[in-house]
Symmetry: C2
Amino acid sequence: MARIVMKFGGTSVGDCDRIKNVARRVKAEVDRGNEVAVVVSAMSGVTNQLVDYCKQIAPLHDAREYDTVVSTGEQVTIGLLSIALQELGVQARSWMGWQIPIRSDGAHGKARIETIETTELERRMASGQVAVVAGFQGLGPDNRVTTLGRGGSDTSAVALAAAVHADRCDIYTDVDGVYTTDPRIVAKARKLDKITYEEMLELASLGAKVLQTRSVEMAMKHRVRVQVLSSFVDAPGTLVCDEEEIVEKELVSGIAYSRDEAKITLVRVADRPGVAAAIFGPLADANVNVDMIVQNVSEDGKHTDLTFTVAKSDLDRATKVLNERQGSLGYERLVPDSNVVKISVIGVGMRSHAGVAQKMFSTLADKAINIQVITTSEIKVSVLVAEEYTELALRALHSAYGLDA
Amino acid sequence: MARIVMKFGGTSVGDCDRIKNVARRVKAEVDRGNEVAVVVSAMSGVTNQLVDYCKQIAPLHDAREYDTVVSTGEQVTIGLLSIALQELGVQARSWMGWQIPIRSDGAHGKARIETIETTELERRMASGQVAVVAGFQGLGPDNRVTTLGRGGSDTSAVALAAAVHADRCDIYTDVDGVYTTDPRIVAKARKLDKITYEEMLELASLGAKVLQTRSVEMAMKHRVRVQVLSSFVDAPGTLVCDEEEIVEKELVSGIAYSRDEAKITLVRVADRPGVAAAIFGPLADANVNVDMIVQNVSEDGKHTDLTFTVAKSDLDRATKVLNERQGSLGYERLVPDSNVVKISVIGVGMRSHAGVAQKMFSTLADKAINIQVITTSEIKVSVLVAEEYTELALRALHSAYGLDA
């Protein structure tokens, strides 16, 4: 007997038939003798509709009331799934965040889970009752409903799995696991059986949209074994786990890409102490996150070129902030470029093997792809290249690292 | 300064523009210096959609989970209305049943409100914050959301008005008040300025769909002054109040009709003790409510004809229950008839004036309308006639009692 937390996203519970299908999957887990809690999202499209209502009433709206409105989507799903389970003869009961309670901080609209009171839940799970828990929501210190931000249901599931000491947290989604790269672009992409927390975290933050970054952080912190699998296909997925659980480690586990970045180059910035702070301070104040940064060697000892990337959606704001300060910053020109893609090679094997970065650079050079910016960390190398090379670069790298199926 | 509870139904909050319109009406009340609480229903159509989801998943479903699902409709509206009020510069905060809490009994799907904790609400109302309260819902003894049954938002509003000792409970709806009869049928129908609780209760239970019966009972019990008025037209409505508040009492205040009844006649039932119990017992067991009952005088001392009415929706079930027992009940034939209408004349003036019933009978006789069944109470006379006479009977009675505008 194991204790399992299952999580189903919006497409998996998109209509009544799909909810019935989810109920059958949950029943199968119960029939195996397991104790089960299920975390669900809102039916697909519902949250967007609710967000749209809020915006229609007032573009800038109170986050408390926004949370009151949008948290209803998950509430509908837990009730319907409980009914579907009972119809199959499975004992089930729905739980909203405030009923458990799942206590969060008071950051309405993007709250963080602090504690989950599990005594009653665990008692019922042990007696054979499936706990059907609303994802994405908590109870704030002011006794009001909070939401965790978009994609928060993954985090709810992992947090619940940690709190009830689940043997596994199964995240059912519309893909059947984590792939070496995007199979829509690289036909030879392979599904991974296992991947480490660290790699998954890099993949998630570097553009792979399988799991929400915060949920992977939480899984890593609490050592929750997370399985990503399909709610439509009956097959094992990818297990996100400790490095120790993975016997055959690959040098590189995956190749991610993100088209969500844009590049800004400041030409002929004064090369003196404090300039970087003068540039990135105002951007931070304007809530613009800066990702990759490269500063060229100064040729004349007085000026340098500075290149960095921001989220594509922040490009206009960043440009505006910097243009307003052109006088004090003293740069010659600002060159924005949104036709870029960030490609990242990820693998814990890099820690112990040299040459991973070199192979990336030579592979891209062989295809005449110019690298604009490079950043590295212990387990990943990211490069920025022109967006038109996305497919070519991904396929070449996938082959070069021996990942092809 | 007064303390006002305002209630808006589903059509009044049917879309974002209408919610903004409701916010303007609430603001007007606040601008008059009043302390205000608002009770709202779900946006029109939403509750039906949610009920339909539950039925799609399982025709017979757990009432607890049904309540979890359908109570979300009001939750959406309170959040949106709070945002709309804040957008107009009015302080507002939404409240779900469990947050106040509005404690109910545990009869999920048709719960009754038991207590409302108002300390925090009243503190905030006194400080100028509008309390936006979800109608139709409460918190059961098991810490789960309950719903009060269809139309329950009227009851929520009156209960809240009683609990906060409101000076008035304004029920905004899609009609502009209580009429002497249905103005769609009788063009000369008049809007009443005032009506007594007793009369409103009879009107509500006899077919007028302006207010939910239970809300009128509650208003009468707690002496809550209820005003029925239009959310689209800016004009005073009808005040439901104590008899003492009404200076010019009419003999008859209104004429109601209901097409929701069906008649059953059992021909040649054995005329012996215990037969009525043998007939109505099984009907009660099958949850069939019997309304009017007439037993004819026995001609031969052995047999009699028994006629009674049930809800039209219960006719098939009632027929089945009785047919299964034809042997033991020993009646000759069962004659069902759903082409009937119940017409009722209502007025507290009847208590002190004779001849009201007689005028009804003679008016109908003048039009050659045959009366099939009669029942009376202290303040009403109801007759059952063939449905085709509905309009003719209503117009004739409306004139006969001097109600024409």
